[in-house]
């Protein structure tokens, strides 16, 4: 187990290295003088020079990268040029609503996606299967921000049932919070549910063809028992993987859906920063999400090997 852990952990190093180089490099993607672009046309030469100095743009690139990296590792992501506040602080403020939305959407997706996938697998090739699969294809074809706009139009504007904008944390009461987050949650959860349904179906069909399922049937086990106790249990690993792997995309998706519903989260922060070309903030957001994505995948890997010891012995070097 320790060897396996070490091996997995070592595999993270090159990925994290590329992630940090790309994030750091963003400032070099900027055409012309980065400091001048960030400050806009009204900035004076002294201001630009001061910013260059504080960003360390006058140092050799290796020195810059090293100081940026060591600072980032200790949680210092620089200072927002526009807001004049540490990026870490700004990020923490914006993170709450985004995580809330992402978790709620994930739960909804699991509640819908897993049973739908099981149903489709059990009725493989029938109308039910096709309905679920077409539904899933639709779910994947409608981008979440667009679904959000459509839901807003239908339930918010035409029917007037739900608020179309804003955010209430859970502390303001679960009912109220749910009301505000209902539409964004559905908008974000739909695509996720579609992905989970597809994966569940595939994984279930895979287990159905296994010999132990034949054995279960041969010994007269009830369908229900063999379905949940044998098939679902074995199929749960790829499903968990899908859920883990999609967390990063889900957070990014939450950021987009947030802007539809004016929820003050990471999405709003990104949009505002893009408008102000506050690249330091963007670097912070991107780095944080990518790194948490890599780490979550690592944890899912570990969880996987705990749940299924076979992985440790056979899947270690793939």
């Amino acid at each position: 187990m320790a060897g396996y852990l070490l091996q997995r952990a070592l595999a993270l190093v090159p990925v994290l290295a590329v992630v940090s180089v790309v994030t750091f490099g963003l400032i070099y993607f900027m055409p012309g003088d980065a400091a001048a672009t960030m400050l806009g046309p009204e900035a004076t030469q002294e201001q630009i020079e001061a910013l260059r100095e504080s960003l360390g743009l006058n140092d050799p690139i290796w020195v810059q990268f090293w100081s940026w990296l060591t600072a980032a590792v200790t949680g210092d992501l620089g200072t927002s040029i526009f807001m004049n506040r540490p990026v870490t602080e700004v990020l923490m403020d914006a993170l709450g609503p985004t995580i809330h939305l992402a978790i709620q959407a994930q739960l909804l997706a699991i509640i819908i996606g897993v049973p739908a996938g099981i149903l489709a697998a059990r009725k493989q090739g029938t109308g039910t299967d096709q309905t679920v699969m077409v539904g899933a294809l639709m779910g994947i074809s409608v981008p979440s921000f667009l679904l959000g706009l459509f839901l807003m139009l239908l339930f918010g504007v035409i029917l007037g049932w739900l608020p179309v904008a804003g955010y209430r944390p859970i502390e303001d009461g679960i009912g109220e919070s749910l009301q505000y987050l209902a539409l964004p949650t559905i908008a974000l959860g739909a695509m996720q549910a579609a992905l989970i349904a597809r994966m569940t179906r595939t994984a279930m069909l895979d287990t159905f063809s296994k010999n132990y399922m034949k054995t279960a049937k041969a010994k007269g086990l009830k369908d229900r028992v063999s379905l949940y106790k044998h098939a679902l249990r074995n199929a749960s690993l790829p499903i968990i993987t899908t859920i883990g792997q999609t967390l990063g995309t889900l957070v990014a998706g939450a950021a987009v859906v947030e802007t539809v519903f004016n929820i003050p989260g990471i999405g709003q922060l990104i949009v505002n920063s893009v408008e102000r070309r506050d690249v330091v903030v963007i670097q912070g957001v991107v780095l944080m999400i990518a790194v948490s994505y890599v780490l979550i995948n690592f944890l899912v890997d570990i969880l996987y090997s705990v749940l299924d010891p076979r992985v440790r012995f056979t899947g270690g070097d793939s």
Binding site: F145, F150, L153, L205, V256, V274, V285
Partner: protein
């Protein structure tokens, strides 16, 4: 269907003129077979209802994008007297908050979206093909290129695109650059995994023995054999780029106004959603229809370019089911393998990729 969509035709074409002294490919034989194969492909395509539906919708949108602007008025002509008018005989899709014709803007937006999607799909195919082939061919290149693509794939696509746009600045060309950086790794991975299989084939060994040059083997002998999975993946990149471009423009980080794109039209529409539903509905419907069409077409192409697919009919259906089942089982296996190694992949693509990889590993016509 042009020949580009039939990799076998492409393969024969590529080895046709150069193949006279090529004892391993059997180019003459293949050349004769090409025509019958192509018509078989077309027949199977015609029998695939979903692919046909997708192709029809996409063709319609493409025709709208090409010829529409000649029929509609200017997409940027401001008419202050007719702001926020609902759909009418004059303005079928209504007018927006500047009095601009929404139909004209949707039509022009189709042009922008399809163009961005198509150019991105083309560029990612070219880069993905080159990177994937060299990675499959050379171990050192493989280690470096695949670690870089792992790293790029650790960023959620939309987020990386936003970040690049924030750095580069708002411009249509920059959208294409950003999307190409985001999606190339996905194509490269698919090409690499198919190429690794092709590389082990006897005919490549024979070419080595004959002393064929590296670039000859890579570009003339290996490339044609990885085209079909690449084309399918390119189809999905096409769809994903359209979605991502729309999202970018909606966030104000994509195609800059006043040029219309479906995404920035939705952004305009959102601010007046209480007064003008048509500004949200029509561009939205066009995005939805286009993406659905491309996904259907992609799924269809995947089935059709898959050698295990046997068409329909009483026995054919059974066979197909069996093949599908096997493919799905293998897909699940791939998923597990993907977990065994740390390959941070966006699941939509991973699943598609896995589904395809397992069925497309047999190189065509060898």
């Amino acid at each position: 269907m042009s020949t580009e969509n039939d990799p076998r035709a492409g393969a024969a074409g590529a080895s046709g003129p150069a193949g006279k002294d090529d004892i391993t490919v059997g180019s003459l034989n293949r050349f004769n077979k090409t025509r019958s194969r192509r018509s078989k492909f077309l027949r199977r395509f015609a029998a695939h209802k979903l692919a046909i539906t997708g192709g029809t919708i996409l063709t319609f949108v493409a025709l709208v994008a090409i010829f529409g602007p000649m029929l509609t008025g200017s997409p940027t002509a401001v008419d202050a007297a007719n702001r926020l008018q609902g759909p009418s005989a004059d303005h079928w899709f209504g007018t927006d908050n500047y009095g601009r014709d929404v139909l004209a803007r949707v039509v022009e937006g189709a042009r922008v979206s399809l163009l961005v999607g198509a150019i991105t799909a083309l560029l990612t195919s070219i880069f993905g093909l080159a990177i994937g082939l060299y990675a499959a061919y050379n171990r050192v290149a493989d280690a470096i290129l695949m670690r870089i693509s792992d790293g790029l794939m650790a960023f959620p696509g939309i987020l990386l695109a936003i970040a690049i746009m924030a750095a580069l600045g708002q411009h249509s060309t920059n959208v294409v650059i950003a999307l190409t950086i985001v999606f190339t790794p996905y194509v490269a991975r698919i090409v690499r995994s198919s190429a690794l299989v092709v590389k082990e084939q006897t005919f490549i060994e024979a070419l080595h023995a004959q002393g064929a040059s590296r670039s000859r083997i890579i570009w003339i002998n290996m490339a044609p054999n990885v085209l079909s999975p690449m084309i399918v993946q390119a189809t999905f990149v096409f769809a994903d780029s359209i979605i991502t471009e729309a999202a970018l423009s909606f966030l104000g980080a994509g195609v800059p106004p006043p040029a219309p794109s479906w995404g920035n039209m939705l952004l305009d529409g959102k601010t007046v959603i209480y007064n003008a539903w048509w500004m949200t509905l029509f561009p939205g419907l066009f995005i939805m229809a286009t993406i659905l069409a491309i996904n259907l077409l992609g799924d269809g192409l995947r089935d059709l370019l898959d050698p295990t697919y046997k068409g329909k009919g009483a026995t054919g259906r059974k066979k197909r089911k069996a093949a599908k089942k096997a493919a799905e089982a293998a897909a699940a296996q791939r998923e597990k393998e993907a977990v065994g190694g740390t390959q941070p992949v966006v699941p939509a693509q991973a699943t598609r990729a896995a589904e395809f990889e397992t069925t497309s590993r047999r190189p065509e016509g060898q």
